[in-house]
C-alpha cells in the first residue's frame, strides 16, 4: 500500500487521482474527530469537514514532513472544531470560555489506533474489506450485506468471523515485524 508520504507527494505533484485518494484515506479520521472528540452537531460537522479538507488542499505545500499528514490533519480539525464551538458560544446568551473537551487527546489516540487497523484492513482481500466495513463501520445488517454482495445471508456471520481472524493475523504480523528483536 502506498505510504502517506508517497500519497502526499503525488498530491503536490498535481496527480489527478491523488487528492481523491487522500480524502478517501482520511475522511473517516477527520469525521470521527469532529463527531466523537468534539461532538459537533451535524450541520456544524459538515462545515468543519469541508473546511478542513479545503484548508488542507490549500496549505499542503506548507506541510514540512509528508509523513506527518495524519497529525497535521488532526491539528487542522481540532482548530476548526474549537473555532466553531467559540463562534457558537458567542451567539449564545452566556459568556463561558470555550475549552477543548477534556478527553480529546485520548479520543484522537484511539482514532489513531483505529486508522492503523483500517490500514491493515486495506491489505486484506477485497471481499473481507467490504464485508467488515459494511458491518462495523456502516452498521449494515446481515440481510443488507447479503443482498449487496450477492451472498447467502446465513453465511455472513461466519464470513465476518473469518475476516476478523485474517485481520488479527495481519496486525499481529505487523506487531512482530516492528517489535525489538531482543538480541
Amino acid at each position: 500500500m502506498e505510504t502517506d508520504a508517497q500519497l502526499v507527494a503525488r498530491c503536490r505533484a498535481g496527480e489527478e487521482d491523488a487528492w481523491r485518494e487522500l480524502v478517501d484515506r482520511f475522511s473517516r479520521y477527520v469525521y470521527a474527530i469532529i463527531v466523537q472528540a468534539f461532538r459537533l452537531p451535524e450541520h456544524d460537522a459538515e462545515d468543519v469537514f469541508q473546511e478542513v479538507f479545503a484548508r488542507a488542499y490549500e496549505q499542503l505545500h506548507k506541510l514540512r514532513d509528508d509523513d506527518a499528514i495524519r497529525p497535521w490533519l488532526a491539528q487542522l480539525t481540532r482548530r476548526r472544531c474549537i473555532d466553531t464551538l467559540r463562534a457558537g458560544a458567542r451567539e449564545g446568551p452566556g459568556e463561558e470560555a470555550i475549552e477543548e473537551p477534556a478527553a480529546v487527546d485520548d479520543t484522537i489516540a484511539q482514532l489513531d489506533e483505529a486508522l492503523s487497523v483500517q490500514d491493515a484492513l486495506a491489505t486484506l482481500p477485497g471481499n473481507c474489506q467490504e464485508i467488515l466495513d459494511r458491518f462495523f463501520a456502516r452498521d449494515e445488517s446481515y440481510r443488507l450485506i447479503a443482498e449487496a454482495l450477492d451472498l447467502p445471508s446465513g453465511t455472513i456471520a461466519s464470513r465476518i468471523s473469518r475476516c476478523l481472524v485474517k485481520l488479527r493475523s495481519e496486525l499481529e504480523g505487523r506487531d512482530s515485524a516492528s517489535a525489538p528483536s531482543g538480541d
Binding site: E46, D133, L167
Partner: protein, 83 residues
C-alpha cells in the same frame, strides 16, 4: 504487542464510521471547485442554452466558452448533466 481479540477489533472498527458519501465527494471535488466547477454549474442553471449545449456535447461546449476541459472537471459535469 497489542492483544487484538475479535471483540476488540470489532470495537475498533466501529470507532471509524463512514461520513456521509456526499461530504466525501464534495471534499474530493475541492480541486474541481478551484477549476471552475461551481461557476459552470451555476451558469448552466441560469442559462438554458449553455445547459443544453453541455448536455449535447460537453467538451465542445466547455471549449467554446473558454473552459479547459480537464478530465476530472468533465467527469464531474457529466454526472451532473448526463447526455
Amino acid at each position: 504487542m497489542t492483544d487484538y481479540t475479535e471483540e476488540t477489533l470489532a470495537e475498533i472498527l466501529r470507532t471509524l464510521p463512514a461520513p456521509p458519501q456526499a461530504w466525501v465527494r464534495a471534499a474530493q471535488e475541492i480541486p474541481l471547485a478551484r477549476r471552475g466547477l461551481d461557476e459552470i454549474v451555476e451558469r448552466a442553471r441560469a442559462d438554458r442554452a449553455f445547459r443544453d449545449a453541455l448536455i449535447a456535447d460537453l467538451e465542445s461546449a466547455l471549449e467554446a466558452e473558454g473552459y479547459e476541459p480537464d478530465p476530472l472537471l468533465v467527469e464531474a459535469l457529466r454526472e451532473r448533466f448526463p447526455s
